[in-house]
Amino acid sequence: MKGFYAKKEDENNICNDHVYEAIFTEHYLKLRNYIYYKYGDLARAEDVVQDVFGKVWQNCATIHYNTIKSYLYKAANNSTLNDIRRLKVVRSYAGTPVHSIHFESPDFQLEEKEFMEKLQQSIGQLRPKQREAFLMHRIDKLSYSEIADLLDISVKAVEKRISQALIALKSHLGNYKF
């Protein structure tokens, strides 16, 4: 009885190593960057994503292949929620609020470099939702509809976040003489 259907089922079965690996390869970097943009801590982003893919591996038999994208992003979000809540606690004890995003910017002449630095600072000050959407578009080169799909929101909502990000960046950088 194993014919066409059996084969098809195999290809959509996340428990199969090659399917799991393909999903990992396709989504790892984008997911890591998304969490990085959100909270500005690369090591933590990599931990979160490792945890999420661990969950996928554990629950491979129950996760639907077609819903894997939203599963990944939701799980990453939840996992960071717990983390961030704990961070808040730790922070209130330690009293050191830290939030930074470091990019690797290309080398330029001096004023270009100044602009880049100021731009990075301003991006660091954006609201997380605006920053996520903006950087997924600028760095990962995702289209608005791809971003909407991954975050499970409407394209209009993505457009709104992007525009607000632009407006906020403009007013930050507008006061600055280059």
């Binding site: 790892y28 893919f53 629950n59 290309p106 632009l166």
Partner: protein, 307 residues
């Protein structure tokens, strides 16, 4: 979510994705801020995040997955997945309907084998779960009625407020604002009071604990006394310590801590153990417990056999 865009907003997003055309584009290009926007767009697309080699990440992931619990088998269950899911769903809905549980929203969080987990409750109280433990509570009504159900072991740091109750199989702990440890596994129930005052109830017995005291119930009776330093639960600082504890209980804890299976058919696990094991390596833990008890072991895959 409100997603109405004003004209400026929708034009900006369209422009950034290269979809602003015709007169609207011309107008935008002659606007005061256009140069700055253009600069932002160009420069932001040059930003790079630190690179990662995805193949290396996949290797690390595979090593990481090996330490997790085996995934559920997918033999016959998988083949009849849809049928079974349907039956299960129908049964669950039937139960929910008859018990009226639909309105309630139980939130459960679990620390799997090999991990401890910190969770902040809606009232900002903190619970740290030891490996292989879980808590659940009603998320929406929690602030009105602070009750959590614990399976396994957890350390609680409770914010001041109304009564805070921790239920588990063998008893319940009631506090106002304090920190304490609850252990309820395999018939052994121990509550350690760290700060504040704690009221423990188990069966017919009840006890009020001051800081440094602990209560334990074995075979139905509840007793309380001052804890010796070595009796205070140390798992949060990476160490489990025991006084005259059945070896079976100690090996259960090692199984949970390192997510392994320990076969102990050839050993008398009714003997008691006094000492500790640390959480940094499985080999070390087996030595710390095994050597004083004259127990050696062999390892095959994830299964450890005691001799």
């Amino acid at each position: 979510m409100e997603t109405k865009l004003n004209q400026e907003e929708s034009d900006l997003a369209k422009w950034l994705s290269g979809n602003l055309k015709g007169p609207a584009l011309t107008k935008f290009e002659s606007s005061e801020n256009f140069e700055l926007y253009k600069n932002i767009a160009v420069k932001s697309s040059l930003l790079r995040v630190p690179e990662t080699n995805v193949d290396e990440a996949l290797k690390r992931q595979k090593a990481f997955n090996k330490r997790l619990k085996k995934r559920p088998s997918q033999s016959s269950w998988h083949r009849y997945k849809y049928l079974w899911t349907g039956i299960a769903a129908a049964a669950v809905i039937a139960i929910l309907l008859t018990t009226g549980l639909f309105q309630k929203d139980t939130f459960t969080i679990q620390a799997d084998y090999g991990q401890t987990l910190t969770h902040t409750l809606p009232d900002q109280s903190i619970v740290i779960l030891n490996a292989g433990s879980s808590i659940s509570y009603m998320e929406k009504s929690f602030l009105k009625k602070r009750t959590v159900t614990l399976v396994g072991e957890g350390f609680f740091e409770v914010q001041k407020g109304s009564d805070f109750i921790v239920r588990s199989t063998s008893g319940s702990v009631q506090v106002l604002g304090t920190s304490f440890n609850v252990y309820d596994r395999g018939g052994t129930y121990t509550v350690h009071c760290n700060t504040g005052k704690v009221r423990v109830q188990s069966g017919d017995g009840a006890a009020i604990l001051e800081p440094g005291m602990y209560a334990f119930a074995k075979a139905g009776t509840l007793q309380s006394k001052m804890a010796m330093p070595q009796e205070i639960p140390m798992w949060r600082s990476g160490k489990n310590s025991y006084i005259k504890t059945a070896l079976s209980e100690v090996f259960d804890a090692i199984e949970r801590q390192f997510a392994v299976k320990i076969v102990r058919d050839d050993v008398d696990t009714k003997r008691t153990f006094t000492g500790f094991f640390t959480h940094d390596s499985l080999k070390k833990a087996l030595y710390q417990v095994g050597s004083p008890m004259d127990i050696s072991y062999t390892v095959k895959d994830d299964v450890i056999t005691l001799k």
